[in-house]
């Protein structure tokens, strides 16, 4: 992923306390980290907080990094931070007043393709909402595994390293998560824009 920068040199500099070097790594990974956090948590604000907190924790723990995939290492911190937030949420399930009043969360400012029509933009937002609702229904472990696989585009070995579990566990979690999400999406076909529905010829 990091081709234009010497990742190992930046890591080494960060380990010596060079904050600027570390921030170059942050700039490179922040989009991925935020997207992973967003899929796991399902809320834009909470994901931003978790991402910021994860990079802070990463900087403080950078001396403990002992080689290997830096992407896996940084995403491990991100997923752990998200996991903490999920547990916190489970412990305190009381939603804010604002969240109670609003039936559906307002869509986040998704990527806007300049060539995209307003209709297409709305449809993509609809897809994003439906997908996120399906992901939110998954248990945290399965949610994280599937996100690392399909959003972070990691292979099973990297996911196992990130989640600190065996390869078999990763296989099982992804298989179950994907099957559940598939079942959910099949029940929500009428809510999806036509172009995102499962076609017979697909």
């Amino acid at each position: 992923m990091v081709q234009s920068i010497d990742e190992q040199a930046l890591i080494a500099a960060a380990q010596r306390g060079d904050l600027d070097a570390f921030n170059q790594l942050v700039i490179h990974y922040q989009r991925l980290a935020y997207h992973v956090a967003y899929r796991i948590l399902g809320e834009a604000d909470a994901s931003a907080d978790a991402t910021q907190d994860a990079f802070l924790r990463a900087y403080k723990a950078i001396k403990q990094y002992r080689g290997g995939s830096f992407k896996a290492w940084i995403l491990r911190i991100v997923t752990n931070t998200c996991y903490d937030q999920l547990r916190l949420k489970q412990r305190r399930p009381t939603a804010s007043l604002e969240a109670l009043l609003v039936a559906e969360p307002a869509p986040g400012p998704f990527f806007v393709d300049q060539a995209e029509s307003p209709e297409a933009y709305v449809e993509r937002q609809e897809l994003g909402r439906t997908l996120q609702a399906g992901i939110n229904a998954l248990p945290p472990d399965q949610r994280i595994a599937l996100t690392l696989c399909d959003v972070a585009d990691m292979n099973y070995q990297e996911i196992a390293q990130t989640m600190n579990v065996s390869l078999g566990t990763v296989k099982s979690r992804i298989s179950r998560a994907r099957a559940k999400l598939r079942n959910y999406l099949l029940t929500q076909q009428e809510l999806l824009p036509a172009q995102y529905r499962l076609r017979d010829d697909a």
Binding site: L19, T51, Q52, L88, C149
Partner: protein
């Protein structure tokens, strides 16, 4: 034969279904991949399953993602501030350890106290002679030197039982039960009687706990030298007078018959427990008691901290 084939096909179908997701991700070994593809060639259900799984993966991969709300670069000021999540994680871990430690200490304390109580109860009911012997002698000797602290009740009924009792109060009481009658004396008479214990009392006391041979020996000694026994305590003149006064007041003090040389059947148990009361103060300072107090205090302290920490927990 057909059943075997059906089972094998079913098992192959289930195995393939379990591997389909990894097949979609390209995470199967070459051999597994070949097996899956061989099964897909003749199983429409698995083909359909594969199609829906691919659709799900594709949808998730191309789903829109929100723009970055801000840059997440770390500033020096952020490092100086207290981060939001890190302390919570540390706190949660510390709280978990605290809870564990409290539970362990509380259980250890409960076990220790229970063990101590069981040990004491079994000691009390089994009527162990050895620990009772020394205190009984000590009580007897102490009465000669410091009679004011002691109360002795000597009861000799038809079964010839003797009960020795010690109390902290100044009031002392002696009841001498003979075969013919019971004489109860109060006040100075009682005190005098204890100050100058009669040979019968002296002889009766050790028999509460001594083995037969020693009791017999003491009995012989008291018979041989009754004057020594009475004069041994060197009672003051006033107390002697009190004894005389008591005699005048028709409080007949009939010396009890010679104690039986056989140990009394019911006495040792009671005498042991009662006489060992003198050891109670020492037991309180025994190491096990100190450990109990220490553990109890520690458990209480940890419990308090845990309850406070529970309120503080995010």
């Amino acid at each position: 034969m057909l059943d075997f084939l059906r089972r094998r096909i079913k098992s192959e179908h289930a195995q393939t279904q379990a591997m389909l997701s990894a097949y979609v991700d390209g995470e199967l070994t070459t051999r597994e991949q070949q097996r899956v593809e061989a099964h897909l060639a003749h199983c429409d259900a698995c083909v359909e399953e594969l199609r829906t799984l691919r659709y799900t993966k594709g949808l998730l991969s191309k789903a829109p993602m929100p723009q970055l709300p801000r840059s997440f670069v770390v500033r020096q000021a952020d490092l100086e501030e207290r981060p939001v999540m890190a302390p919570r994680r540390g706190f949660g871990l510390a709280y978990a350890y605290l809870k564990g430690a409290t539970a362990v200490i509380a259980v250890a304390f409960a076990l220790l106290v229970a063990g101590d109580l069981i040990a004491q109860l079994s000691l009390g009911t089994s009527g162990v002679m050895l620990p009772a012997m020394a205190p009984a002698e000590r009580v007897y000797e102490g009465e000669q030197e410091a009679p004011a602290e002691s109360t002795i009740v000597v009861q000799k009924a038809v079964q010839e039982t003797v009960v020795v009792e010690k109390a902290v109060e100044e009031q002392v009481e002696e009841v001498v039960v003979t075969k013919e009658r019971v004489v109860t004396k109060e006040g100075e008479v009682q005190k005098a009687a204890i100050d100058t214990p009669s040979p019968a009392v002296r002889q009766a006391l050790p028999t509460a706990s001594l083995p037969p041979r020693e009791v017999e020996q003491q009995a012989v000694e008291s018979l041989a030298l009754p004057e020594d026994a009475v004069g041994g305590g060197a009672p003051p003149p006033t107390e002697v007078a009190a004894v005389e006064k008591a005699s005048d007041a028709d409080a007949t003090v009939t010396p009890t018959p010679l104690p039986s040389t056989t140990p009394f059947p019911t006495v040792p148990e009671e005498a042991a427990s009662v006489a060992s009361m003198g050891m109670e103060s020492r037991r309180w300072l025994s190491p096990i008691r100190l450990v109990e107090i220490g553990l109890g205090g520690l458990a209480l302290l940890l419990l308090t901290i845990t309850l406070i920490a529970r309120r503080q927990q995010p």
